[in-house]
């Protein structure tokens, strides 16, 4: 494997024990294997004492493909799943503080309406917007807001869940492309793995 080899990104979710040092173990493992943590979101899960993580890891294909298995070796990791190739939905959140004047405020608010962003704060010379969605959507809005003068952008990591199955008794996260749908819906429905984030 050459050092030039192309990096690949994988989305991994993990259920881990909610105690000090667990994130350090995970981060240490990623560092040892030469993986970059491109995004990370951690929060308490629905189960007491357990947290759920979503991260996007970047690294050489042969290494990054192994990351879920490597993570599962950690004693404090209950479960780690590479969901990149599964049918999943994901969201990121951004808070964007954009400079406004009396001339531009209306235009910014109009833009926020189109993007379905929430206005969560207004100051004398700024507006703060909260936007949820896929990366492309957030990138687009930030690009459009740029000419008004962005004062601050704060973005979260990605959070992801597997899509629920449409058919009883089947696992979540399956692609339904080959199925005959109940009411004659498109049978060639196709989702490109990993880019089903936009609303």
């Amino acid at each position: 494997m050459t050092t030039e080899s192309k990096f690949e990104a994988r989305t991994v979710t993990a259920l881990v024990e909610d105690r000090p040092g667990v994130l350090a173990r995970i981060a240490g493992l990623c560092r040892r294997r030469g993986l970059n943590i491109a995004s990370l979101a951690v929060g308490r899960s629905e189960q007491a004492g357990l947290s759920r993580l979503t991260f996007v890891l970047e690294g050489p294909p042969g290494v990054v493909n192994q990351c879920a298995a490597q993570l599962e070796r950690l004693v404090n990791v209950i479960d780690a799943t590479d969901i990149t190739n599964k049918n999943h939905i994901w969201r990121e959140l951004a808070l964007v503080k954009v400079g406004t004047s009396t001339d531009t405020r209306v235009e910014v608010l109009e833009l926020s309406r189109v993007f379905r962003a929430n206005v969560i704060d207004i100051g004398v010379d700024s507006v703060t917007l909260e936007l949820t969605g896929g990366r492309e959507k957030i990138d687009s809005m930030i690009t459009l807001l740029d000419r008004f003068g962005i004062k601050e952008v704060m973005r979260t990591g990605r959070v992801a869940v597997l899509r629920g199955t449409l058919f009883e008794g089947e696992e979540d996260g399956q692609f339904q492309s080959s199925r005959k749908w109940a009411n004659g819906l498109p049978h060639e429905y196709h989702v490109t793995p990993g880019v089903s984030g936009s609303v």
């Binding site: 024990e17 298995a69 490597q70 599962e72 070796r73 004693v75 209950i78």
Partner: protein, 590 residues
């Protein structure tokens, strides 16, 4: 010779593991210090020997040790020695080795030993003292963040911050160390936690709740079926049997399946002694310095069954050119090893002993006479173990002599380098689990303390440590430990006044620029032995090798034999790092 108990390690069920303990629950419910609780828990885990060296932060634990005479403390001279001795004890006995060290430098000195155990999947529990809780993070005297420092070299580690966690943590640590893929676990206990009072209750504290920790046992039947199908269809199958055979005590099962399906067995470096070397299906070990015929057998096969091995880079070399004509089955207890280096056709995740047991009834009985003949022909065409007759004493002569005199029955410990490779090549192991060497990490100096640990685990066994003069001088202070504990370990120094393997690499790959690898002022090892209170001998002639070994064996105490060998001698065969079978270099002097 006491035969090693093949069932001692990794019993199939949990109750059996705990039964190993000494059931010293007499202090249940009494108020005890954290140090007492740690000792109680150790006793209940069946610990009888602890290797360690005291210091300020661990003194509260040492302060109560005398109350537990069943815990024999072996004072080492350097904490690295404690970790390696615990490692040697663990490998030889199949039980968990235990090391104590104090905070700061004591703890950091363990790291090489922990890393060695981690790479070779050896169960060790290390207990380190830590500065008091109030001082943690203040850069206090002898403070090191040892849980942070050992994260990458332990299977798991703990910083215990409450006295009520001491007992459960010790039990959990032993459970993690010895189950699944074994490995080292470190427990860091602050000084004041060891002094604080609490209670110990075996039944309460052994309740282990590890939701994220799974121990593979048997493998799913579909994995077994897919693998067995490949075995039954194969014409030229070969086993690549690794350390997992030894760790899971799968010797008999491996032999049974190999004989039933007539599959030649190549062992990895750490798999050596997992399959009897006098067995007709035994082929040797492959890879960088393995026997050429073993590497060629892998290359000529149409199916490689990796059993408890991890396709290490010293075997595989160039991944893209490794055994391109064969399919691969990978049996491993650690799912993270599957497809890590070599992409396989069938993966089986489980405890090797159980997995082989599942496979045996499904595998067809075969004879494969052509393939067996072919492998035999490889052995004839590539006489890798021929010793060039220059008239001078070489490392190979020493190992050959040891093998002859001990009839392949001794426990052999080595570090890393030429001496290790000659030992692996020329010693004919007949006893399961009698080969202890630092394979994965390649730790110079492992050979001296690990032999001490092995001898303590197997008091009746004959333990020979085969050393290089370089590695020997890294840990030779532990000879005092051997003498102090009246351990009859025999040290054979293959003394060429060089870092031999480094010289070899420099000559072969670095234009002969042999900088900084000659030891021009080695000590007189005979006098050194005498200084330590040991017997010392020197051998310079081929003819004197066997008589010296016999004399050493007859001596009741520890012995150093300084074998003055050829200064510059290469280990062959050799496949350079990252190379393939096409790059095989054989000894042309044959």
């Amino acid at each position: 010779m006491v035969p090693r108990d093949p069932n001692l390690v990794l019993p199939d069920n949990e109750d059996e593991i705990f039964y190993l303990g000494q059931e010293t629950n007499i202090n249940m419910g009494k108020t005890l210090t954290g140090g007492d609780i740690a000792c109680e828990a150790l006793l209940n885990e069946g610990v009888d020997i602890v290797f360690g060296l005291p210091g300020g932060a661990i003194l509260p634990l040492y302060g109560v040790l005398s109350r537990y005479p069943q815990l024999r403390h072996v004072l080492v001279r350097h904490e690295q020695g404690a970790a390696h001795a615990a490692d040697g004890y663990a490998r030889a006995s199949g039980r968990v080795g235990v090391a104590f060290a104090t905070s700061g430098p004591g703890a950091t000195n363990l790291i090489t030993g922990l890393a060695t155990a981690m790479m070779d999947s050896v169960p060790i529990v290390a207990i380190t003292g830590q500065v008091g809780r109030a001082a943690i993070g203040s850069d206090a005297f002898q403070e090191t963040d040892i849980t942070g420092a050992t994260l990458p070299v332990t299977k798991h580690n703990y910083l215990v911050t409450r006295v009520e966690d001491v007992g459960p943590t010790v039990h959990e640590a032993f459970h993690i160390a010895r189950t699944g893929r074994p490995g080292p676990v470190l427990i860091d206990i602050p000084k004041d936690v060891m002094q604080e009072e609490g209670t110990y209750d075996y039944e309460r504290d052994r309740q282990i709740k590890l939701p994220g920790y799974r121990i593979p046992t048997t493998a799913p039947e579909d994995q077994i079926d897919a693998a067995v199908k490949l075995i039954n269809e194969a014409e030229r199958p070969v086993f690549l049997a690794g350390h997992g055979v030894i760790i899971s005590r799968a010797f008999d099962k491996l032999k049974e399946l190999a004989e039933k399906a007539q599959i030649p067995v190549v062992t990895t470096l750490l798999g050596i002694s997992g399959f009897p070397e006098n067995h007709p299906l035994h082929v040797g070990f492959p890879g960088m310095h393995g026997e050429a015929y073993a590497s060629l057998a892998l290359d000529d096969s149409d199916l490689i069954i990796s059993a408890g091995s991890r396709f290490d880079d010293r075997i595989v070399g160039n991944v893209n050119e490794f055994a391109t004509r064969s399919k691969k089955i990978h049996i491993d207890i650690d799912p993270a090893e599957i497809n890590k280096s070599v992409q396989v056709d069938a993966a089986v995740v489980g405890n090797l002993k159980h997995v082989l047991g599942q496979m045996i009834p499904k595998a067809e009985r075969k004879s494969r006479p052509e393939w067996i003949r072919h492998v035999e022909q490889l052995k004839t065409d590539h006489p890798s173990l021929h010793i060039p007759e220059t008239g001078n004493l070489s490392g190979q002569h020493v190992v050959r002599g040891l093998s002859n005199i001990t009839k392949g029955n001794a426990i052999i410990c080595t570090g890393v380098g030429q001496h290790q490779m000659w030992a692996a090549q020329h010693y004919k192991f007949t006893q399961p689990n009698s080969w202890l060497c630092s394979g994965g990490l390649g730790t110079m100096g492992y050979e001296v303390p690990s032999a001490i640990g092995a001898q303590m685990a197997m008091p009746e066994a004959l333990v020979w440590s085969i050393c290089g003069d370089g590695g020997f001088q890294m840990t030779m202070m532990e000879l005092a430990t051997a003498v102090e504990n009246r351990l009859p370990v025999k040290y054979a120094i293959l003394n060429n006044n060089h870092l031999g393997m480094i010289t070899q690499w420099q000559e072969l790959f670095y234009m002969g620029d042999t900088q900084a690898d000659a030891y021009t002022a080695n000590p007189d090892f005979v006098k050194l032995a005498e200084a330590f209170g040991m017997k010392g001998m020197r051998v310079e002639e081929i003819d004197d090798v066997e008589s010296a070994i016999e004399e050493a064996n007859a001596h009741p105490g520890p012995v150093i034999v300084d074998f003055v060998i050829e200064k510059v001698e290469h280990v062959y065969p050799m496949i350079p790092a990252g190379g393939s079978i096409q790059d095989l270099m054989e000894d042309t002097r044959v």
